[in-house]
C-alpha cells in the first residue's frame, strides 16, 4: 500500500503546485460537471464530439504527412509516391488522413441534420448554428484543398474546373482566377497557396471557430431533448431550461460523456479499418497537363456537384453556379432568425423532415449518377468495346460495313449497343423501331438534339452503310419503322 500511496501523494503535490499558479482545476471541474438534461445522454447527441475527435485525428495525421510531403508542383506527386512506397507505414498515415476526411465531412453533415431536426438552432442558440455553418464551409474547404494537395491529374484538372467556375464571376472573374492560381496557369504557385490554405489558414480558422462553437455550447447548455408541444419562447426559454437541468439534470462527466466516448472510439476504429482495408487515395496519374488521356473525377463529396454541372442546361449554369450557393448559404444563415421560436420536435415539423429527405435524396441521386457519369462519352469505347456478336450474325456485307463505320467514327463512345458503350446519347438497340430510314439519315448527317452533325465526316457510302446497319437494330419480331407515305407510294411490303 505504501508503494502506491507515495507516488499518488507526489502527483497530488505536483498537481497542487501547478494549480496554485494556474488556478484552472476548479473551472475545469465545474465545466466537466455542469448539469445537462438527462435525456441528452443519448446516441443522438454523439456526433458533435465525434467530429471533434476526427478533427483531432486529422490534425495529428496531417502533421505526420507534412514531415514528408513536399508542396512543390514539380515534386509533390513524387513525395506522395515516397509516402506510399518508401516510408514505413506512410501509406497507412495517408489512408488515415484520406478516410478521416471522408468521415469528417459525413459526421459534420449528420451532426447538422441532427441539430436541424432537433430544433437546436432555435433561441438562444442562433449563434451556435451560424458558427456551425462556418465550420461546415471550412470543413468542405479542407476537403477541396486536401484533394488539391494530392497533386495528381484529378487535382490538376479539378483546379482548372475551380478556375473556370470562378472566371464566371462578373467583372472580377479574371482577376479572381489569377489570385486563385497565383499566376496565369495552374503551376507551382497554385500548389503553394493551396498548401498554405490547407495547412495554416483553414485549420487555424477551424480551431478558432471550434473553440467558439464549444464555448457557446457550454454557455448556453446542450439542447434539451425536443418534446412535441414544448414551445420555445424567447421570454421564458432560458428559465425553463435551467429549471429542467436543475430538476432532471445529470453532470456531463460522467453522466453523459460515456456514449460520446464509445462513439468517438468506434468512429476512429472505423477509419482505421477503412484505411487498412482500402488503403490511401491515389495519387492518380502525374500532374502533367500534356497527358490528356485522362477523365478527371472529383472526390466523393463533390461528385454531386460534378453531376449538377453536367446536367444543368448551359444557359442556366452560370447563374446557378454563382447565385445558387449564395441562396443556399443565405437560407442556412437566416434559418435561426426566421424560426427562432416555436416547436422543436421533428414530430411536429413535417416540412423540416421533408426538406432533409428531399436534400438527401437529391444529393444521393446526383452522387449515384456521377458514379457512372452517363453524360460523358466513353472515350475508348470505339476501340475497346466490340459490337456484340448477335448484332453481326446473318448480316449483309453492307450492314457489316456499317457496323465498322459505327465503330470507326466513334459512334460507340456516346451510344451503347447491348448495354456496352457510352450513354451520352440514347442506346441504339431499338433505334430502327423508333426512326425511319430517312429520319436516321437526317439525324446522322445533321445531328441535333445534342448530337453533333456528321455530314462533313461521312462519305455518302459510309452514311449508306451506317444507316443500313442501324436499320437492323430492332427486337426480333418487331418490324423496323417505315415511312407510311413511302410504303403507300411503292405499295411494297
Amino acid at each position: 500500500m505504501r508503494l502506491i500511496k507515495a507516488p499518488v501523494r507526489l502527483i497530488k503535490k505536483v498537481g497542487g503546485w501547478f494549480d496554485e499558479r494556474l488556478q484552472l482545476a476548479t473551472p475545469i471541474r465545474e465545466t466537466m460537471q455542469h448539469p445537462v438534461p438527462r435525456q441528452t445522454a443519448s446516441w443522438a447527441y454523439v456526433f458533435g464530439s465525434a467530429a471533434l475527435t476526427v478533427f483531432a485525428l486529422q490534425l495529428v495525421t496531417g502533421i505526420l504527412l507534412a514531415l514528408i510531403y513536399v508542396p512543390s508542383a514539380g515534386e509533390a506527386w513524387s513525395s506522395l509516391q515516397v509516402l506510399n512506397h518508401q516510408v514505413a507505414l506512410g501509406w497507412f498515415i495517408r489512408a488515415l488522413h484520406g478516410w478521416g476526411s471522408n468521415f469528417m465531412v459525413a459526421i459534420v453533415l449528420i451532426h447538422m441534420v441532427q441539430v436541424f431536426l432537433f430544433g437546436a438552432y432555435k433561441f438562444p442558440r442562433e449563434l451556435t448554428w451560424v458558427v456551425g455553418i462556418l465550420l461546415l464551409l471550412l470543413t468542405l474547404g479542407m476537403a477541396f484543398t486536401g484533394q488539391v494537395l494530392r497533386f495528381d491529374q484529378d487535382a490538376y484538372w479539378g483546379l482548372g474546373i475551380g478556375a473556370s467556375i470562378s472566371s464566371r464571376i462578373p467583372v472580377l472573374g479574371p482577376w479572381i482566377v489569377n489570385l486563385l492560381l497565383g499566376g496565369p496557369i495552374i503551376a507551382g504557385a497554385t500548389l503553394s497557396r493551396f498548401f498554405a490554405l490547407h495547412v495554416f489558414v483553414i485549420p487555424g480558422s477551424l480551431i478558432a471557430f471550434v473553440g467558439l462553437h464549444l464555448l457557446l455550447v457550454l454557455k448556453l447548455g446542450i439542447n434539451e431533448w425536443p418534446m412535441p408541444g414544448r414551445i420555445v419562447r424567447r421570454a421564458t426559454y432560458v428559465k425553463e431550461y435551467h429549471e429542467l437541468t436543475r430538476k432532471d439534470g445529470i453532470p456531463f462527466v460522467p453522466g453523459a460523456v460515456a456514449k460520446d466516448l464509445f462513439f468517438s472510439g468506434f468512429i476512429v476504429l472505423c477509419i482505421v479499418a477503412c484505411a487498412v482495408h482500402f488503403g490511401p487515395f491515389g495519387p492518380s496519374g502525374q500532374p502533367d497537363p500534356t497527358i490528356i488521356q485522362t477523365a478527371p473525377r472529383p472526390d466523393y463529396f463533390f461528385l454531386w456537384l460534378y453531376a449538377v454541372l453536367s446536367l444543368l442546361p448551359p444557359s442556366m449554369e452560370t447563374p446557378a453556379l454563382l447565385i445558387g450557393p449564395m441562396i443556399a448559404l443565405g437560407v442556412l444563415l437566416a434559418l435561426p432568425f426566421f424560426s427562432g421560436e416555436g416547436e422543436k420536435s421533428w414530430r411536429r415539423r413535417p416540412i423540416a423532415v421533408l426538406t432533409i429527405l428531399l436534400v438527401a435524396v437529391a444529393l444521393g441521386t446526383f452522387t449515384h449518377l456521377a458514379g457512372n457519369a452517363p453524360w460523358s462519352p466513353v472515350m475508348d469505347a470505339w476501340s475497346g468495346d466490340p459490337i456484340p456478336a448477335p448484332y453481326l450474325k446473318a448480316r449483309t456485307a453492307l450492314e457489316r460495313q456499317g457496323a465498322l463505320v459505327f465503330q470507326a467514327k466513334q459512334c460507340h463512345n456516346c451510344h451503347a449497343l447491348g448495354g456496352v458503350g457510352g450513354q451520352r446519347g440514347p442506346e441504339l438497340d431499338r433505334i430502327a423501331v423508333e426512326l425511319t430510314q430517312d429520319q436516321l439519315i437526317r439525324q446522322v448527317i445533321q445531328g441535333g438534339g445534342n448530337m453533333p452533325a456528321y455530314g462533313k465526316n461521312l462519305s455518302p457510302a459510309e452514311t449508306t452503310a451506317l444507316v443500313a446497319f442501324l436499320e437492323t437494330l430492332h427486337p426480333a419480331g418487331q418490324a423496323p419503322a417505315q415511312d407510311a407515305s413511302r410504303v403507300g407510294q411503292l405499295g411494297a411490303r
Partner: protein
C-alpha cells in the same frame, strides 16, 4: 489635471496610441495587399502572354490536327511538368492554321481530338466540338478557345501564356464563334 472637455490626459494618450497603431497598420497593409495581389498586378503589366514557338511547319501536315506542347513563358523553378502546356494545332489547308487551347470552353478539362469522326470530345461533362473548334454539343456555350498565331521563317508561333477560362478568354484569344453565325 484634466482638459477642458473632460478628456483626461491618459484617455487622450490611449487614443493617440490607438491612432498611431492604426497608422502603422495602414503603412504595413500597403505592401501586404500588393504582395497578395501580385498575380493580378503582374497580369495587368507587363502581362502574361508572349509569342511562343510551337515548332516547324513540317510537324503540322496540311489537313490534320496535331497536339503540340509549349513551355509556359512565365515559369517558376518549382513548376515542374505543370508548365508544359499542350494545345491542338489544325493545319486547315497548308496556308491557314487554327490553334486551339486544350481546355474545354465549359470548365477547362482537356479535350481530345478524334480524327475519324472529326470531333473534339471532353471527358468531363460531355462537351463536343467540330474540327474547326465550333461547338457541336454538350454543356459548352461556345467554341474552343483559339490562340492568335503567326508564321515566321517556317515556324508556327502562338500568342499564349495564360490558362483560358470562360469568363477570361484572355487578350491573345479570339472567340471563334464571333462573326460566324450558324455553326457547321
Amino acid at each position: 489635471m484634466s482638459l477642458p472637455d473632460g478628456l483626461s490626459r491618459r484617455a487622450m494618450l490611449m487614443k493617440l496610441g490607438i491612432l498611431f497603431n492604426a497608422a502603422v497598420g495602414a503603412i504595413l497593409a500597403v505592401p501586404i495587399v500588393s504582395y497578395i495581389l501580385s498575380p493580378v498586378i503582374r497580369q495587368r503589366r507587363p502581362g502574361y502572354e508572349s509569342w511562343l514557338k510551337l515548332g516547324g511547319l513540317d510537324q503540322f501536315p496540311a489537313g490534320q490536327t496535331r497536339l503540340a506542347v509549349y513551355r509556359n513563358p512565365v515559369v517558376n523553378p518549382t513548376d515542374g511538368e505543370t508548365a508544359n502546356i499542350p494545345c491542338w494545332v489544325r493545319n486547315v489547308d497548308g496556308q491557314k492554321f487554327q490553334v486551339f487551347a486544350i481546355n474545354c470552353a465549359h470548365l477547362g478539362c482537356p479535350v481530345r481530338w478524334f480524327p475519324q469522326s472529326g470531333l473534339f470530345m471532353c471527358p468531363c461533362h460531355g462537351g463536343a466540338y467540330y474540327s474547326d473548334g465550333s461547338r457541336a454539343s454538350g454543356p459548352p456555350e461556345r467554341g474552343l478557345f483559339e490562340y492568335r498565331y503567326k508564321l515566321e521563317q517556317g515556324n508556327l508561333f502562338i500568342d499564349a501564356g495564360q490558362m483560358p477560362t470562360t469568363g477570361a478568354p484572355t487578350a491573345g484569344l479570339t472567340n471563334i464563334d464571333a462573326g460566324r453565325p450558324g455553326c457547321a
